[in-house]
Amino acid sequence: MTQVDSTLISDWHVVADIETLKDDTITTTYLFGERIQIERNHLKSISVTTDSGREVISRQKYGFVWVCLGEPGRPIIEIPEAEENDRHVITGGSMGVHVSGLRVVENFLDMGHFPFVHDGYLGVETNSETFPYQVDITADDEIVATDCKFFQPVASPNAEGGIMADYEYQVLRPYTAVLYKTNPLQPHRKDYIAIFVQPAGEEHCIVHPFLCYLKDGIDRCTVRWFMQLIFGQDKPILENQLPKCLPLDPRAETCIASDATSVFYRRWLREHNITYGAIPIDSASNFSESKSGDIIR
């Protein structure tokens, strides 16, 4: 197995949407290339074991099963929006993607693709300009991109006509990112979307979206439908990225001004020595070599 970074081993990762589990049934999935079994008994209690029979630490939170393969170095992230009563709190439907989870996070942070990949929804091709925004690293060592604005014809299923949508992005952990987005009916409040990316392997991941949408003018099904529509548009593009791992060498892929968040993200991964799902800078000469230690078919 490829060496997994210690910060990732001691972190929490979503491995299943609880709604998809059946009682007294074992569900198999992968984390860092290792096969794991999730078992739920009739008392709804869950245990997670590795192939070798070792039980790993697991929790149920926000509708997901979370595991930590080592000793937890920090708690599962706190989401205050999930506690607000006037929000739908929804798991968005987990989707497997044949690419590094880091590529998925980078795509989640990117506005430039809206007019092309989400034409007619999150952007229109005739309105393709990405305006300057601010990116910073907070005292808590999280990446925050603010003042992000993009013209969106259908920013949300309950939006009537195009709006200049305001976004704020945060990268909380290497495989976890969230965005806050203007609610079309209550412009002073924001809808919340997070993605928890499960690194099944270096080049395979399962994306678990988590949504806290204001209930005003929208039902649960529609929120979920919209998330799946949008992510369904991203998936084929992501699966055609070469190489499948995220190159961290700044020269490996051409960045432009509108890629500021992505530039910060790659740098932040470098500084945190995250290599799982990445092509670290010192192996630059093996740039496109497939890292497939993970064989998931």
């Binding site: 430039g112 092309f116 309105n127 393709s128 190489p243 020269r251 432009i256 630059a284 740039f287 496109s288």
Partner: protein
């Protein structure tokens, strides 16, 4: 001879129908293969330089390939990036250029290689005659096992598919290629079979046979398909029974081991990087000569609509001329030159002394007049020879089906330049002929009278007309950033009497600029690289970011809001109002 130096077929010509992009692979390297509308076959590394998305899922727009992810455009022939939609007002850096593999279309196949040598495939028996391309068959096996089996290829002459007795002769055989002749009753057919190494464990068999048009092709194709499929079955069962470790991997190249090079330092001064020949010279209008400039060797670099080149004349003069070419058209550059009565020698020399066959040095194209492709409507206004950059813009807008109008002010019908190109643009071109100063102003007022959000206007022509357009647009309420100008020259008298200091933030140098010297001259004198072109404050090439201090703007390139911002300076003419300028260089 290495395997990288060999020409292999990587596709059939029929795999490249109109506006399609074909995914090919050779020696582990993925390639995006597409035919432009002018027939040119492009073979590129199969990844967008931006985020690595396969270009084989991109969109063939006829003259450019568009990436699916962020809509970046890459030009036919050169693979240079021509447009980045996230920043529609900027022209992409010249260094953004994809890797290109050579392409030859011959015998119904498209041939390429990693670094192929020589003139390409040459098979005498297929030359100057009709060929029938066989169906390509993919085999899961290393190439050497395939070619071994192919040596036993026994087929029937095309007109003798039912013959009982056939004789075979292997005419030629190499590690990847086989020529076999089949003969029966004085009828013979020769076949060329090639094993294309896709990667170390996958091979595609491609074949071509000599062909007579009188025959029916389907039974012949079926005959060969059956035979090659039998070979596939035999090879795959053998390959499967051999332990993987024993399979000899090919000398495989990993795709894109090289990183795109980091941005180059700007070349100092006015640099002529390309040698061209005048392939054609003709009079396109009264007093205007047109020139087609072809590269002496290699290919001309990517340009964007609005770009100009420096032409270095044999008499030592350097002049700027806009490219009039349509998008993706780089087999030659076309420029138009008006013989100016008050010329200081440049246009006289070009028009009078240079003829077809003459050689010239030119710079790479620079674009300080970039065209946005996200406008709801684009208005192009040309006066006289100012048509040249706008013609290139109009051709792109026309090709991309974007809404635009080209208003062309000329003295008379006889003065209409590049009329043959304009006529192809149809009703989008509006001619304004023989108007006096006041009539021109009225027409400009009419043209600019309607302004809506996200409309853009581009103006190029004589200085009085630009000034009139500027004043009119301002009066009507066009925002500064929606009005774009290209000056041929700076009509302002330059006041170079001031004295000031420049501090170079990146080079950690402080230099004095005395009266009578320009910033550019002082930088050059101190070996600080600065790229320039017109050197009279019109083209914008020598723009520098200002970190501190107040510039004394004397150029006509920067727009009013930019001048007011004190963030940029055109260093060939502008100076300082403050005692000191801190420049980001």
């Amino acid at each position: 001879m290495t395997i990288e130096s060999i020409w292999f077929p990587i596709a059939a010509s029929d795999d490249l129908p109109y506006r399609h992009v074909y995914h090919a692979q050779l020696l582990g390297t993925e390639m995006a293969v597409w035919r432009a509308d002018d027939g040119f076959v492009n073979i590129w590394e199969n990844r967008c330089l931006h985020r690595g998305v396969r270009l084989s899922i991109g969109i063939n727009e006829g003259v450019e390939l568009k990436c699916q992810y962020h809509g970046w455009r890459y030009a036919n022939r050169t693979a240079g990036c021509t447009y980045i939609p996230a920043h529609p007002a900027n022209s992409p850096a010249r260094t953004i250029q994809n890797r290109v593999y050579p392409a030859i279309e011959r015998y119904g196949l498209v041939w390429s290689g990693i670094e192929p040598e020589g003139e390409g495939p040459n098979f005498e028996f297929l030359s100057n005659r009709h060929c029938l391309v066989l169906r390509a068959v993919s085999i899961n096996s290393p190439t050497n096992m395939v070619i071994e089996e192919l040596r036993k290829y026994q087929f029937h002459p095309s007109s003798q598919l039912d013959a009982k007795h056939v004789e075979y002769e292997v005419v030629e055989w190499s590690t990847n290629t086989l020529i076999v002749q089949a003969q029966s009753q004085n009828f013979s057919t020769t076949a060329l079979l090639i094993a294309q190494p896709v990667d170390s464990y996958k091979t595609v068999v491609r074949g071509v046979i000599e062909w007579d048009d009188g025959l029916e092709d389907i039974p012949v194709l079926r005959h060969h398909a059956q035979l090659i499929n039998q070979i596939r079955n035999r090879v795959e069962s053998r390959a499967a029974s051999i332990p993987v470790a024993e399979l000899t991997p090919l000398n495989m190249i990993k795709p894109s081991q090289e990183f795109p090079s980091s941005p180059k330092q700007p070349e100092s001064g006015r640099f002529a990087s390309y040698q061209v020949t005048i392939a054609r010279k003709w009079q396109t209008a009264e007093g205007v000569s047109a020139f087609d400039l072809e590269p002496i060797k290699g290919v001309l670099p990517t340009f964007q609509p609005g770009a100009h080149i420096d032409v270095h004349m044999p008499n030592g003069l350097i002049r700027q001329y806009s490219l009039t070419n349509g998008p993706g058209q780089t087999q030659h550059y076309t420029i138009g030159i008006k013989r100016e009565s008050n010329s200081s020698g440049g246009s006289h020399y070009m028009v009078d002394s240079l003829h077809e066959g003459c050689k010239l040095d030119i710079s790479e194209p620079r674009n300080n007049f970039p065209l946005r492709r996200d406008a709801l409507e684009t208005i192009l206004i040309a006066g006289g020879i100012g048509i040249t950059p706008l013609l290139s813009m109009a051709r792109l807008l026309d090709h991309a089906n974007l809404p635009y109008k080209l208003h062309y002010f000329a003295q008379s019908e006889k003065h209409v330049t590049f009329g043959e190109v304009l006529s192809k643009l149809g009703s989008s071109v509006v001619l304004h002929l023989g108007l006096g100063d006041s009539q021109t102003k009225e027409s400009l007022h009419d043209i600019l009278s309607i302004h809506q959000k996200r409309m853009h206007v581009y103006v190029c022509g004589p200085a009085p007309m630009l000034e009139a357009a500027r004043v009119t647009a301002l009066k009507i309420g066009w925002p500064d950033e929606a009005v774009h100008f290209e000056y041929f020259k700076n009509p302002n008298a330059i006041d170079d009497s001031s004295e000031f200091e420049i501090a170079l933030a990146r080079s950690c140098l402080t230099l004095k600029v005395p009266s009578g010297k320009t910033i550019v001259e002082i930088l050059r004198h101190n070996n600080v690289a600065i790229s320039t072109s017109c050197e009279q404050g019109a083209c914008g090439t020598c723009i520098i970011d200002v970190l501190e201090g107040e510039p004394d703007h004397q150029d006509v390139y920067l727009r009013e809001f930019e001048k007011a911002g004190h963030k940029k300076i055109i260093s060939c003419v502008s100076r300082a109002k403050s005692k000191r300028l801190v420049l980001d260089i």
